[in-house]
């Protein structure tokens, strides 16, 4: 009955009431729109707004970053091609550092952007006890101007003086890029982690493995003999994407295994560590009979989340 009365009222005069209300709404919407039009564009209340315009450009400063390269399925060396130490202007291997001595640490930094330079790029230097996951101690930071790919100032060089601790030992160097903006934030941490051991058959190395995460972790190790070598000379076909992919393929993980005849023993070979806990890892490398020269071995430590770190050990046989 109520429904019937409602329909009847609607037919008699309700339609006029509805029309009045609807007109009011239309008027409000139009008035709001015209008010807005008169004010022109208004600032958005949002804090973060996307932008997609060719005039807005973003840099991609980068350094040889072992963690990033490993995530791409590439082999890595911890003898970082972008980090070099100097003593009185002469290059020095990071495994031959003297205690209490001031070195110049130089980092080579690239930009993968063709249109966005970086002025005043902050570059932070730190050192760690030789090993994996050890605690980073700041050395200092500096700023550099980095040009675009193919332009002046690319690569650019950041230098920092570093006085080694008075405690004798091996140390690693870390270089961290800290740009204000970056299209790829994964390739900003370079690490130099090397040691040389003379093989009196066998060569024995030790390093600290520390769980730098807040979760218990189980570790495994992978050893290879990867060295990046020098890039091929450019030629007429170097410019193609196929040629670039072919060059990339030569650096795939597993492409340079430990040479036949070498025996590598890691002890313990599958440690489990609670957060912040550390253990000493011993690597025993036995060269094949008659081997002379130097052999680089990259020992990479993995846990459930990926690469934990690594060291490059060079076995030298006179």
């Amino acid at each position: 009955m109520k429904m019937f009365l409602f329909i009847l009222k609607t037919l008699l005069y309700g339609w006029a009431v509805a029309l009045r209300d609807l007109s009011r709404i239309v008027h409000e919407v139009c008035a709001r729109w015209f008010r807005r039009k008169r004010r022109g564009k208004i600032p958005t209340p949002n804090r973060c707004v996307p932008i997609n315009n060719p005039a807005f450009v973003r840099p991609d400063p980068l350094i040889y970053d072992q963690y990033y390269l490993t995530s791409l399925g590439l082999a890595v060396t911890w003898d970082n091609p972008d980090i070099q130490l100097y003593l009185n202007g002469a290059p020095v291997d990071s495994n031959q550092l003297l205690p209490g001595t001031t070195y110049e640490v130089m980092a080579q930094i690239w930009n993968n952007s063709t249109d966005a330079p970086v002025v005043g790029l902050p570059v932070a230097f730190s050192f760690l006890e030789f090993g994996v996951g050890t605690v980073s101690v700041p050395i200092g930071s500096t700023h550099i101007d980095l040009g675009v790919k193919g332009g002046p100032n690319c690569p650019a060089y950041a230098t920092m003086l570093w006085t080694t601790p008075t405690t004798p030992g091996h140390y690693c160097i870390q270089v961290q890029l800290q740009p204000a903006d970056d299209t790829n934030t994964q390739n900003n941490l370079g690490q130099e982690n090397t040691n040389v051991g003379a093989a009196h058959s066998p060569a024995v190395f030790t390093f600290t493995l520390r769980n730098a995460t807040d979760q218990p972790k189980s570790y495994t190790f992978a050893v290879d003999a990867y060295t990046p070598g020098t890039p091929d000379p450019c030629n007429d076909v170097s410019n193609t994407e196929e040629a670039r992919r072919a060059r990339l393929a030569r650096h795939r993980r597993g492409s340079q295994p430990v040479p036949a005849g070498w025996q590598i023993k890691i002890d313990p070979d599958a440690p489990s560590l609670a957060p912040v806990d550390a253990t000493l890892i011993t690597v025993t490398a036995t060269p094949p009979g008659g081997f002379t020269g130097n052999q680089a071995l990259n020992v990479n430590a993995f846990h459930e989340s990926g690469l934990a770190g690594g060291v490059t050990l060079t076995v030298a046989v006179a």
Binding site: K41, T44, N46, I51, F56, Y64, L69, T230, P231, N239
Partner: protein, 360 residues
């Protein structure tokens, strides 16, 4: 690579028309419509033509008005600001500014609005929040960009400057901080799209007027042509609305801009290069007159400067370094170098790069 959108051209003050753009558009519509309407009107008076055909002149008038408005928007709205002697533009005619992002005015979401410029306001480096126009005036190194210049003063245009609110507190406006900012615009193509479409649509609209005079089938041809003109305008509105970068594009340069939070912290510091102009159109929408960088030809984020840089003049050196870096990045030599095989690496030069052959 120097890559930016520009559809506007600034006009010398001697060619500037200070009238309201709608008046300009109305007059242009009349100039176009009247001569076209003479013949149909005479024919209608003489009893040869159908007087209803004169109704089609309304469409011609409307489209010609749109052409006039778009022409003003693109080529008569922006007044070129001559370079002050101590602040010359670079070789591309651009001025450079660094500042903190205060407000963002993205293209409006409403469909009929075809102005899809993306505007931002920055607080110039070394100028504190709450700064007034007087505080900013000629303060080095960028204050001159916000300072009234003779070109507009001599033209009797009232300069107001432009302020922005650092963070909105909708229920507590007393907490809002207003500061003098530099307005900058990334150009969109919406008005240019409409300009092209209106010029095209004018043709069938005019044809429709004359087709209507053909006996028997003329009214049908005229109707089709008139509808075509309207359809072209409708399509232009839709295209102009959609003609902007989509954040889901596959482009590494797509980014996000950040304003300050409620503690007035966290905003991006931007390096911006662009043409220094006075947008006379803001007299009608914002009821203000101020200068801006329009279009932005280069923009990227950078690190904020310290107070020491402002006091010690480091900020002036920083401006030079940025100018040099952008100049190097956009130089012909760099653009040519970027095509070389040794610069095609994507991961790291030692991994997927090649060594240039050195010819001794």
């Amino acid at each position: 690579m120097a890559n930016f959108r520009q559809y506007t051209q600034c006009v010398d003050i001697s060619n500037f028309d200070p009238r309201n753009p709608y008046v300009i558009a109305a007059w242009l519509g009349l100039y176009v419509t009247l001569p076209i309407g003479v013949l149909p009107a005479l024919m209608a008076i003489g009893g040869i033509g159908n007087p209803l055909c004169l109704l089609l002149l309304a469409e011609v008038y409307f489209i010609a008005g749109v052409v006039g408005y778009c022409y003003w928007w693109l080529f008569r709205r922006l007044i070129c600001i001559p370079d002050p002697p101590d602040h010359p533009a670079d070789s591309a005619g651009d001025h450079l500014a660094i500042g903190t992002l205060i407000d963002i005015l993205p293209p409006p979401p409403t469909l009929p609005d075809i102005d899809n410029d993306y505007s931002i306001g920055i607080l110039l480096q070394c100028i504190p929040l709450r700064a007034t126009l007087a505080d900013v005036a000629n303060k080095p190194p960028y204050g001159y960009l916000d300072t009234e210049q003779p070109v507009t003063r001599n033209a009797n245009l009232t300069y107001t400057g432009n302020t922005g609110v650092d963070h909105e507190f909708p229920n507590h406006p007393e907490l809002e901080i207003r500061s003098e900012i530099l307005h900058c615009e990334f150009e969109g193509r919406g008005v240019f799209d409409m300009f092209l479409a209106a010029r095209f649509a004018l043709f069938p609209a005019v044809l429709a007027v004359f087709a209507c005079l053909i006996p028997d089938v003329g009214w049908l041809i005229a109707l089709i042509l008139a509808l075509l003109g309207i359809a072209i305008m409708g399509i232009a509105v839709a295209i102009g609305y959609l003609d902007e970068g989509d954040p889901s594009d596959v482009n590494p340069n797509i980014g996000e801009l950040h304003r300050n939070d409620e503690n007035h912290q966290g905003a991006d510091t931007l390096v911006i290069k662009g043409h220094w102009v006075c947008d006379a159109g803001h007299r009608f929408d914002h009821h203000q007159l101020y200068y801006e960088l329009h279009p932005i030809t280069f923009c990227c984020k950078t690190s904020p400067v310290t107070l020491a840089d402002c006091v010690g003049g480091g900020v002036i050196l920083l401006k030079k370094r940025w100018a040099n870096a952008i100049g190097d990045a956009t130089s012909t030599a760099t653009l040519e170098n970027q095509k070389l095989p040794q610069n095609q690496w994507q991961v790291h030069p030692i991994i997927d790069g090649c060594q240039p052959v050195v010819i001794v």
